[in-house]
């Protein structure tokens, strides 16, 4: 049973897939440039970065920082997803609510992250800063995408449901979920990248204790380039793994919902 109404073609999958050879070539280029410069403070080599990650991973602070940053950023992300989906659903049913939310959405989308961070620091403690920033990055994206998805649901299927008097819960599971899913997935994919970037940026400015942002800030202060690169690599890995895991979990939940009919 398929979960998406827009099955990706083999060609499309090929185009979007990162090839190992391309990664290796880029790593080789990086290594060569680093060796050519010869100053690790300016450009650290990939080998040193990996060694630094391994060294950091042996400490408890490393895992504590990852856990506390992850809880906050993912917390903000989930809050944005839940509120975005619920309000998009309600907005699809109420023009007034849609009109009411539009100025907020447009404003949040246009304000630079740095402005938000500084402004929000006045209102909340630096500890919770990344939750709010992550939420503010995710909410408009999810809201807009899900609302677009709902507006694109096949009217003919809705007419069919009306004639057969299919209860709303069943319509939601069988018609809406699968038709809105591609929009939701695209929104999540974009929002996940944004929330990690903005969340860590907020931590670098707010410097909450035991966070990835604090470690990045310290690396900058002490000109510890290997640590800076190592933490960046860690952020990329967490972001990619979380995105893959989350989208897989969504796919699984949708399949279960559709099977319930």
């Amino acid at each position: 049973m398929m979960t998406s109404t827009t099955p990706e073609s083999k060609e499309g999958k090929r185009k979007g897939k990162i090839r190992l050879w391309a990664v290796l070539v880029w790593l080789a280029v990086w290594q060569l440039v680093s060796m050519w410069i010869g100053q690790e403070i300016l450009l650290v080599s990939p080998v040193t970065v990996v060694c630094t990650v391994v060294k950091l991973a042996a400490t408890a602070e490393f895992w504590l920082s990852i856990a506390s940053s992850m809880i906050r950023i993912v917390g903000g992300f989930l809050l944005g997803v839940i509120l975005g989906v619920v309000l998009a659903g309600l907005s699809a049913a109420s023009v007034r609510l849609r009109e009411f939310l539009l100025p907020f959405i447009v404003t949040v989308k246009s304000i630079p992250v740095a402005s938000f961070v500084i402004l929000v620091l006045i209102w909340v403690s630096s500890r919770n800063l990344s939750v709010l920033i992550s939420f503010l990055m995710v909410f408009p994206v999810i809201y807009t995408n899900v609302l677009d998805g709902i507006s694109q649901v096949d009217r003919k299927l809705l007419e069919m449901a009306r004639v057969f008097e299919i209860p709303f819960g069943r319509q939601l599971r069988s018609i809406y979920v699968s038709q809105v899913l591609p929009y939701f997935r695209a929104g999540c994919s974009l929002a996940l990248g944004l929330c990690w970037k903005a969340g860590v940026a907020a931590e670098v400015i707010g410097i909450p204790q035991n966070s990835i942002g604090e470690n990045l800030y310290n690396a900058k202060i002490y000109l510890d380039t290997p640590a800076l690169f190592a933490w960046t690599l860690v952020i990329i890995c967490i972001s990619v793994l979380f995105e893959k895991g989350f989208l897989k979990a969504i796919g699984y939940c949708v399949r279960r919902l559709e099977q319930r009919g």
Binding site: M1, M2, S4, V163, I166, S174, E258
Partner: protein, 192 residues
């Protein structure tokens, strides 16, 4: 008893239905015939409550539980054939549905998603979805469209049997189909 009285419908300057009246016999199949574009589908859409007539009444129809085969299949593409059918009749068991599917040569494709089915299979899934749904009136808009001769003959025989004793409004432009369905009443929409 459903009664259609003096229904008229226009789209801009184009008059599609002009003072059309029909008495639908309960427990019988009423066939509406007419050339393409004469307003058959518009009439069904009004009777199904999807459009409103400019004039006239559809007495008794709004409160009736309806089932329909639309001109297009209107299947949920990501759902399996079985899930599409169960959408309108969740009270039926999978075994029951599987047995009915076999009768119109849909056996073995229960778990195939709609987007993987052929045109003829999709049409039969849409037909079965309508036939198995509990209803007081059944609308069939060109239900055998796109079926090859052999499948059409078999599907018509199955549909005729399934429609026995039910109130059915069957729309077609094919005289042979109307005859094979054994309609109690045939009305030509061309004549108004």
């Amino acid at each position: 008893m459903p009664e259609i009285i003096n229904i008229s419908k226009s789209y801009g300057e184009h008059r599609v239905l002009e003072q059309f009246s029909l008495h639908i016999q309960e427990g019988e199949t009423t066939c509406i015939m007419g050339r393409s574009g004469c307003g058959k589908t518009t009439l069904l859409r009004i009777l199904m409550g999807l459009e409103t007539a400019d004039e006239g009444e559809t007495g008794g129809l709004p409160s009736m539980k309806k089932s329909a085969v639309f001109q297009e299949d209107r299947l949920c593409e990501n759902l399996s054939a079985m899930a599409n059918i169960r959408l309108t009749c969740p009270e039926r068991t999978a075994e029951e549905i599987r047995n009915e599917m076999k009768k119109i040569d849909l056996g073995g494709c229960e778990n195939q998603p709609a987007h993987e089915l052929s045109g003829g299979m999709r049409r039969r899934v849409a037909l079965l979805r309508a036939l198995l749904a509990p209803c007081q009136i059944l609308f069939l808009d060109e239900p055998f469209k796109g079926l090859d001769d052999e499948t059409r003959r078999k599907t018509i025989a199955y549909t005729k049997e399934a429609c026995r004793g039910r109130t059915v409004l069957f729309v077609t432009h094919d005289e042979k189909e109307a005859e094979l369905m054994g309609a109690a009443k045939v009305v030509s929409l061309d004549e108004g």
